[in-house]
């Protein structure tokens, strides 16, 4: 490793706390913030409310109608957006330093005084409905929908995050206002900043941005059950390929084995060409253009998920190779060489992950969401050095369950 360090400061102003990585060589600032909640808070039958809310916050606020608001952002090249995920709601902007006061003004206005004009609501609703229908045009989109439903039946995470055409049609402006009131609170906020800004400059902005929000935190989501083992679920779809999403239970983000699991999964199915799955499924057998697997995080729980697409006739073969590789890793773990390569990758990749303000702010945000200490990155190399091949083999044995690996397959698969 190159001795790379990212100095992080904590900036506090009253109830608001942000993590900041200051870097002044380029006149750009990024801010990111988030709450827990997101589409998981959508009412039953009102799926898509949080997504509409996210879209509508930048469609007019205060005295500015939608076009005027959009012009104000674009005149100053302020990239402001909000998004609703299954377990959280987030906002962010990136702008030139000279546009920072305007960015803060517009972001604060968007959160505290969104207009929800009827015509804007209809436009955003139509856009969301079209996006939902379009997502069902491809096997990948169909697979994604079925996968979450199969993993967490009955939990809000299983529902259609962007809504369905029916649920979107039923959402009222009152419903969107209620979602905003529940979600955008002073409490439960996580904030990160990066770039051309000092702690003293950032502190007052925190109050400007969030000071007008109501007290208290968003309501909590129901606890996430363990993911179902649902076997192989086939959805028939006319096309040349079978698209598969596969997954199984993982481990909590705060588990002491988290980083060892990341390293082990890189050997199995991560990053580019060097994984076992890419070697066995793509390079050796020519079964696919790409296959990958890794950890995705939902409500603090890591799930092991992955995807692959292959010619229908070879779907059975592909799934068999996948299960065999899963079992081989569970039985004997990575080799010394594989372990050394993957550990070296993680040790060396830090400066690449942190080369622009948006990814730095995003990293600081997830560190806070995952409950990491401020020196987490500084001590990463030390933690990685302590990870042995035996520990990776143990974590593979603990986690990987070739039998329990479940898959949604969309296409006309042969041999399943």
């Amino acid at each position: 490793m190159s001795g790379f360090r990212l100095p992080i400061r904590q900036v506090v102003n009253g109830p608001f706390t942000a993590w900041l990585a200051e870097e002044r060589s380029v006149p750009v600032v990024s801010l990111s913030w988030a709450w827990k909640g997101g589409t998981g808070l959508d009412p039953e039958g009102g799926e898509g409310t949080a997504s509409l809310l996210a879209g509508l916050l930048t469609e007019g606020a205060g005295d500015l109608d939608a076009t005027t608001f959009s012009d104000a952002l674009r005149d100053s090249a302020i990239q402001l957006s909000f998004s609703a995920d299954r377990d959280g709601f987030s906002g962010s902007f990136r702008c030139l330093t000279e546009a920072l006061p305007e960015a803060v003004r517009l972001a604060a206005l968007a959160m505290s005084a969104p207009r929800f004009d009827a015509d804007a609501v209809e436009r955003v609703r139509a856009r969301a409905a079209a996006a939902q229908r379009r997502s069902l045009e491809t096997p990948r989109g169909l697979a994604g929908r079925a996968f979450w439903q199969a993993l967490f039946p009955g939990h809000p995470s299983a529902r259609e995050a962007g809504g369905t055409p029916d649920s979107l049609a039923a959402i009222t402006v009152e419903g969107i206002r209620a979602a905003r009131a529940a979600q955008l609170r002073r409490g439960g906020l996580t904030i990160a900043a990066a770039g051309d800004i000092s702690p003293d400059q950032l502190a007052p902005l925190l109050r400007d941005l969030f000071g007008a929000l109501p007290e208290g935190e968003p309501p909590a989501l129901p606890p996430l059950p363990p993911p179902q083992r649902f076997g192989v679920r086939v959805i028939s779809f006319a096309g040349p390929q079978s698209h598969m999403l596969f997954g199984q239970a993982g481990l909590p983000v705060r588990d002491p084995d988290w980083e060892a699991a990341q390293v082990m999964l890189r050997v199995l199915g991560g990053g580019g060409f060097s994984s076992r799955l890419m070697e066995e499924v793509r390079v050796r057998r020519g079964l696919t253009y790409g296959i990958g697997a890794g950890l995705s995080v939902l409500m603090g729980q890591g799930l092991i998920t992955g995807s692959v697409a292959t010619e229908n006739a070879r779907a059975g073969e592909t799934l068999a190779v996948l299960r065999a590789e899963w079992a081989r890793m569970a039985e004997s773990g990575p080799t010394e060489g594989e372990a050394a390569d993957a550990l070296a990758y993680f040790a060396g990749s830090l400066p690449l992950q942190l080369s622009d303000t948006r990814s730095i702010a995003g990293t600081l945000l997830s560190m806070q969401q995952n409950g990491r200490p401020m020196d987490w990155l500084d001590r990463r190399e030390e933690r990685l050095r302590a990870i042995t091949r035996e520990r990776l083999a143990a974590v593979a044995r603990r986690l990987l369950d070739a039998e329990g690996l479940s898959a949604v397959v969309v296409g006309q698969p042969v041999g399943l």
Binding site: A130, Q241, Y289
Partner: protein, 466 residues
């Protein structure tokens, strides 16, 4: 979901309604590029040629201890030999299969072992290879890239399995996606499936099957010469350090020329001016209309930059003319316009509309065409022109916030024969455009232009607008 595979950028390139058209003789594009007085270069790049003819660009950026290397080859899908579409892209895949000093698959493994990233992409105009690593590893990636650029092994034993990978890539990125299928079919219907502009970028399936190792070797021989390639190195490296690395890696490669770009003429008429396709997988109709246009290398090149301003006024998001006429009126979910002008040969101006469900499609088409016709007739207003220019240029400096932006922009421009000023001074060039110039460019392109075609992509059972 974890992001999958590498080389997905090909998909991005293939997704463009038309990355590029082609060529007559490159006209005097250079004159348009004298830097406006007082303008400062965006990246402050330095450029020169090695004795073997290789063009080198250096952008020193000290912000993080990282360096990016991009090598652009001035040949893409439009240079594929007749009947062998997909050759440029197939070769891109085989460039990862070893060279004298690097075993097959080892390139990516070595980069990953140092925590780096590597990838490659193929467009109609270029093939590009790139890596980003901690700065001290520049000598390693320069050695490996120079080695395969000069002497790829293209091992016969790996051609067939890689062909299967590419066929799966085609099935995944094109055949499994109705919108990608349509774009490919539209280009082929309009320009012809063997025209350099109408051919599949990833390759027609039967032609991918027909490509031989000899074809790949011949393509490399022909196009991977030092005199045509452009190397861009950006990041935490000084000129002296870079010179030392170049002396050991690229400088010893023997000089080799590349052929001038020659793609054959545009058809005098398009094969069809109306292409309609129904697709059972499609849920939402879409409308598009394209016009062959001047570019920065073809036709009236002075129109190229003003065309981008005109496209912004016509269809640059909220408040644009198409947005007001179609989206605010409730006829469409989205509506936009774009001008592809940074390309070898003719460019393409495009309008696209996603109608709302259950609206009369004929009405959508009529309003779209009327909106275009009205702007052509009225010309651009001073105020909307100034607004468009603000929106296009206000964020120019944001590209300093990304390690890959400078090499991507500069390499793409130089590899299609544009001068570096096109990138360094682009904001000033856009700001210099007047409403009258944008109007003239628009009239020259969307006026009485016979090279224009309309496409409708429809869900099964939807009646096609007449």
């Amino acid at each position: 979901m974890p992001p999958l595979t590498r080389r997905q950028t090909l998909a991005a390139a293939a997704a463009l309604p038309a990355v590029s058209l082609l060529p007559a003789a490159p006209a005097g594009a250079q004159a348009a590029f004298s830097p406006p007085p007082g303008a400062r270069p965006l990246f402050g790049a330095e450029t020169w040629r090695l004795p073997n003819g290789l063009t080198v660009v250096h952008v020193e950026q000290r912000r993080s201890p990282v360096v990016s290397q991009f090598l652009f080859v001035p040949a893409g899908g439009a240079e594929d030999p007749p009947g062998k579409s997909g050759t440029a892209h197939f070769l891109e895949h085989m460039m990862f299969k070893g060279s004298p000093r690097v075993a097959s698959g080892e390139f990516s493994r070595r980069v990953a072992r140092e925590g780096g990233r590597d990838n490659a992409f193929t467009s109609r105009d270029v093939t590009a290879y790139h890596q980003t690593v901690a700065a001290q590893h520049l000598p390693m990636i320069a050695m490996m890239e120079a080695d395969r650029f000069a002497s790829p092994l293209i091992p016969a034993a790996e051609v067939e399995s890689e062909r299967n990978v590419i066929l799966e890539e085609r099935r995944q990125m094109v055949d499994s996606n109705p919108r990608a299928r349509f774009r490919e079919a539209f280009d082929a219907a309009v320009f012809g499936p063997q025209h350099w502009k109408g051919r599949s970028l990833i390759g027609w399936e039967e032609e991918i099957r027909a490509i031989t190792r000899e074809d790949l070797v011949a393509f490399h021989e022909r196009h991977y010469g030092t005199e045509g390639a452009v190397l861009v190195v950006a990041g935490a490296v000084s000129r002296a350090e870079l010179d030392a690395v170049l002396a050991e890696t690229y400088a010893p490669i023997p000089r080799r020329a590349v052929p001038a770009r020659s793609r054959g003429p545009l058809p005098e008429a398009l094969r069809t001016d109306r292409f309609i396709r129904h697709d059972p997988a499609l849920r939402e109709a879409s409308f598009s209309r394209v016009w062959v246009s001047p570019s920065l290398t073809w036709g009236e090149t002075r129109h190229a930059i003003p065309l981008s301003v005109a496209a912004q006024v016509l269809g640059g998001g909220q408040g644009s003319r198409l947005h007001r006429a179609l989206v605010e009126s409730g006829l469409a979910v989205s509506a936009g316009a774009s001008a592809w002008t940074d390309t070898v040969g003719a460019g393409l101006f495009a309008v696209s509309v996603a109608p709302r469900p259950r609206v009369a499609l004929r009405e959508v088409e009529r309003v779209a065409n009327d909106t275009v016709a009205r702007l052509v007739q009225e010309g651009l207003g001073e105020e909307e022109t100034a607004r468009a220019i603000r929106h296009l240029t206000a964020g120019a400096l944001l590209s300093l916030d990304s390690i890959g932006a400078a090499p991507r922009l500069i390499g793409s421009a130089l590899a299609i024969g544009l001068p570096i000023e096109r990138v360094e001074f682009w904001p000033a060039m856009v700001r210099a455009v007047t409403a009258a110039e944008a109007t003239a460019a628009l009239r020259a392109t969307l006026g009485a232009n016979p090279l224009s075609a309309t496409g409708w992509h429809l869900p099964e059972g939807t009646e096609a607008p007449a």
